[in-house]
């Protein structure tokens, strides 16, 4: 019998024990996320229910990924007739307390942070049939934009690439991965191809909501939103429970930019997080030439739709560049390829070269992100910016962030994926003064790339600094402000009233402003204090591959000041129960997780050895090489005359925008055809803007109008001049423009009579 047939007969993909083939009995049964989510961060309580079905004592190990800017505060362990709270200890001391308690037969619990924001929760000496609940308190950052924010919480952990990591399928549908010694022995979960039989996850979150219009959505889960009191919405799952195969993503969108002072008084004094929308710093100015390198991850885990979308995104970004800009293009997986050894000007030829280069790219191999970024920075010896499109599935991220920081280029990150690499990419962008967005697999990559590219184009303010009399600002705010991205400043002060003084350089020179630090009665002092601590800790840890004695001392100091765990400080609690006796150590059981829904199991856990090794341990070992996918989902179609749905509309716009020539116009067989094609696209952009779609096409639209305006045909014909002027005045025109757009995409020409017939009022 083949391995696969044997597996099928045993009930495919259920988590089974490698040695016996018996179905796994799960020590972790339920995970429930509660707490409140604010524009400046989240304060969370996660409830873990552990229950042992074994006949001997076990040690359950649950490894998870921290969200961005997050830190653990404390936990409470509740069992039959007891409840104990954790204490914060230096890691070595915590490990010692934990091991000693285990050897005495006591219930010991420890939460310890490792590299890459990995945290393990250890519950040791869980007795047969015993139920223990661990309530873990933590704070986490959110991704804040002018008109909303995104909160991500990892319910699963993505397997990731590391050159020295080893991975194999140890039983059908069960993958294991081991990291080298430098990861301090962190136990990664086992990954289960089908997570249906794993622990259940649920949530009940209080989400801050502004007066006036707002909307709460989740692109990852079906959620129910209920208004509670003024200022909060309660978000819970629309189904009873779910499985851990993707992150929770919650979006809050507002009509007006979010601003204000969030904070209050606590035992640590007064603290506040001040949100200043980017619009406060003015509007984007005329742009200067830009030097940008696009870095595209084509590793095996990007296979399929993410890679195809990313390619299109880069073409559309290139089309938004002006002839004065220069660009580079780098693709990486295990090796690095680049379009040219130096930056190229934007021209018809170089754009075509870029297109060919991208078309040839196929997914496969490892994720040598560091090498890709190094190649990009070599192209930018005078500084510049990088747009990185990746799923971020790498281990050992501290080294990458440290190198990128040294290189002195700004890295804008566009992350794609269902799981957990948000923390890494947020750090990478923050440490290099760039911007970061992280999308779920259900969202569009191309339009998000255009949006990011447009907002990172021109800073609104430079050299921003914040302070004030008796006001402590930590960590320092980002020095550069970009359109769309607000600034959040954490401040603490003594005395009745504080004032935050800001200074920055803008297009008109040096500027100053004062923000009064007025705190309401929300009682957010404690939460904001913790968020500030978590942010400082994350910044300090972002580049720390190994903890030097000095760094360890700093982290211990910060940990004690804010009462937060980090890589140097762990949380531990011990409970001596009646009848505890020393004996054999408990059996370690690592809590398995589901593969992230968008990552193919065999992108990591695949044939490592083609051999008939289905022996007693059923170890089928798979290779780490990537394959290719031939089948594709069927394409969406549109009937003539039909207005496309928003998704198809954006598809068409991205494709056409990618064709813009360096002079700002569309290509065509002659000048008349060029004029007509450009006018059709301008009409489409006008319509899209009306529908609140495609604000990221603004640079394309501007360049198109400029091209049409100075075209001799426009200057010679009053009818054409009127059309261009009215488009500039933000008018829209009904017409068969989507039909014409598809003909342009098919390479057909447009008859002038047909075009003008559709505009009878002109």
């Amino acid at each position: 019998m083949t391995g696969a047939a044997a597996a099928a007969e045993q009930g495919f993909f259920a988590p089974v024990e490698a040695a016996s083939g018996a179905e796994l009995r799960l020590a972790l049964q339920e995970l429930m996320l509660t707490g409140k989510v604010l524009p400046v961060g989240a304060h969370l309580w996660v409830r873990h229910l552990f229950r042992s079905a074994e006949t001997k004592p076990v040690e359950a190990v649950y490894t998870f990924a921290l969200p961005r800017d997050a830190a653990l505060r404390r936990f409470r362990v509740v069992g039959q007739g007891f409840s104990v709270e954790s204490s914060l200890q230096p890691v070595a001391k915590a490990e010692e307390i934990y091991e000693e308690a285990l050897s005495r037969g006591n219930l010991a619990t420890m939460a310890r942070a490792y590299r890459d924001g990995l945290v393990s929760l250890y519950v040791g000496n869980l007795k047969p049939e015993e139920t223990v609940v661990v309530f873990l308190e933590l704070v986490a950052g959110v991704d804040l934009w002018d008109e909303g924010f995104r909160f991500r919480f990892p319910f699963t952990l993505a397997p990731a690439y590391h050159p020295q990591a080893r991975a194999a399928e140890v039983a059908p549908g069960l993958g294991e991965m081991e990291l080298p010694e430098s990861f301090e022995g962190v136990l990664l979960p086992q990954w289960v191809k089908n997570g249906e039989k794993l622990h259940q996850v649920g949530l009940s979150l209080e989400v801050w909501s502004p007066p006036g219009g707002f909307q709460v959505n989740s692109p990852s889960h079906r959620v129910r939103v209920a208004m509670e009191e003024q200022g909060t919405a309660r978000v819970s799952l629309a189904v009873d429970h779910d499985i851990p195969d993707r992150d929770l993503v919650l979006d809050l969108e507002t009509r007006r930019p979010i601003q204000g002072v969030f904070g209050g008084e606590s035992e640590h004094g007064k603290s506040a997080a001040v949100v200043i929308p980017s619009t406060f710093f003015g509007k984007p100015q005329e742009t200067q030439p830009r030097e940008v390198v696009f870095v595209l991850d084509r590793s095996g885990s990007m296979e399929g739709r993410p890679l195809e979308q990313a390619k299109k995104a880069i073409q559309a970004c290139l089309a938004a560049c002006s002839p004065a800009d220069r660009f580079g293009l780098v693709l990486f997986e295990s090796s690095v390829e680049q379009l040219a050894g130096n930056l190229l000007p934007i021209s018809v030829e170089t754009r075509e070269q870029a297109e060919d280069f991208l078309q040839r790219a196929e997914a496969g191999g490892g994720t040598e992100l560091a090498a890709g970024l190094a190649a990009a920075t070599r192209l930018l010896p005078q500084g510049g910016e990088v747009l990185l499109v990746t799923d971020g599935q790498v281990f050992g991220t501290e080294e990458i962030v440290a190198q990128a920081k040294k290189a002195g280029v700004r890295i804008n990150c566009l992350g794609i994926g269902a799981a957990s690499q948000d923390r890494f990419l947020a750090s990478l962008a923050a440490q290099t003064e760039g911007l970061c967005r992280f999308l779920t697999p259900q969202e569009r990559v191309d339009t998000a790339a255009l949006e990011l590219f447009a907002s990172s184009r021109q800073p609104l303010a430079w050299e921003l600094s914040a302070g004030g009399d008796g006001v402590e600002v930590e960590p320092a705010p980002p020095r550069t402000v970009f359109a769309g991205k607000p600034v959040v400043i954490f401040a603490s002060w003594e005395g009745e009233r504080g004032a935050l003084e800001l200074s920055w350089r803008g297009p008109v020179g040096a500027q100053r402003s004062t923000v009064p630090l007025e705190i309401g009665q929300d009682g957010l002092g404690e939460t904001v204090h913790l968020l500030q601590g978590a942010k400082r800790i994350t910044e300090l840890e972002a580049t720390a591959e190994e903890l030097s004695p000095e760094l360890r001392r700093k982290l211990e100091q910060l940990g004690r000041r804010y009462g937060l765990a980090n890589r140097a400080m762990a949380l531990v609690a011990v409970k001596a129960r009646p009848g505890d006796t020393p004996g054999e150590p408990p059996k370690t059981e690592v809590v398995p997780l589901g593969m992230p829904e968008d990552t193919r199991f065999d992108a990591y856990f695949r044939l490592r050895r083609v051999a008939d090794v289905v022996v007693r341990h059923k170890v089928v070992l798979y290779s780490l090489m990537a394959g290719a996918e031939f089948y594709e989902p069927r394409e969406r179609r549109r009937l003539p005359g039909e207005v496309p749905d928003p998704v198809l509309m954006e598809d068409i716009l991205v494709d056409l925008a990618g064709k813009l020539l360096p002079d700002g116009g569309m290509p065509g067989s002659d000048e008349e055809q060029r004029w007509l094609a450009s006018a059709v696209l301008a009409l489409l952009f006008a319509e899209a803007r009306e529908k609140r779609l495609g604000k990221w096409f603004r640079p394309h639209f501007k360049r198109l109008l400029a091209f049409l305006k100075k075209h001799p045909a426009t200057q010679a014909d009053p009818r054409r001049a009127t059309l261009v002027a009215r488009l500039e005045a933000k008018e829209t025109f009904l017409g068969p423009w989507w039909d014409l757009a598809e003909r342009l995409l098919a390479g057909e020409s447009i008859a002038p009579e047909e075009f003008w017939q559709a505009l009878p009022t002109l």
Partner: protein, 125 residues
């Protein structure tokens, strides 16, 4: 010796020792009075496991090798493969050590097969 002493002597964390016992890489401790006791055989086995790990083997492979003893060396050498997903129910494994031109031909043929099958499916619908 105690777990802590064994770990210190072998230069590993106590957790590692416990994990190896749970994975069947180390025998469980001997009972001694009220506690657990480890002997030289544990130290020896730990050294062997670390050595095999150093050769790039995963714990699952080491467990298999330790259990099989000598037979294990008869396992065939590794042969990396590309996995091509032709359709939802078909995956074709191709040896990765073939010449690039040959792989290109195989790819093309598989692509054609994928298209044919996809077309057949559409016609049926």
């Amino acid at each position: 010796m105690s777990l802590a002493e064994l770990a210190a002597k072998a230069g590993v964390r106590p957790r590692t020792v416990r994990f190896y016992i749970a994975r069947g890489l180390l025998p469980p401790p001997r009972k001694a009075g009220r506690g657990a006791c480890y002997g030289p055989e544990h130290l020896e086995r730990l050294a062997l496991v670390r050595q095999l790990q150093g050769q790039g083997l995963m714990l699952a492979e080491i467990a298999q090798r330790l259990e099989q003893g000598e037979e294990a060396s008869a396992l065939p050498e590794p042969a990396p493969c590309w996995a091509f997903h032709v359709s939802e129910e078909i995956t074709v494994l191709v040896r990765a050590d073939v010449a690039p031109w040959r792989l290109a031909r195989i790819r093309r043929a598989l692509g054609e097969l994928a298209r044919t099958l996809a077309k057949g499916k559409e016609d049926q619908l």
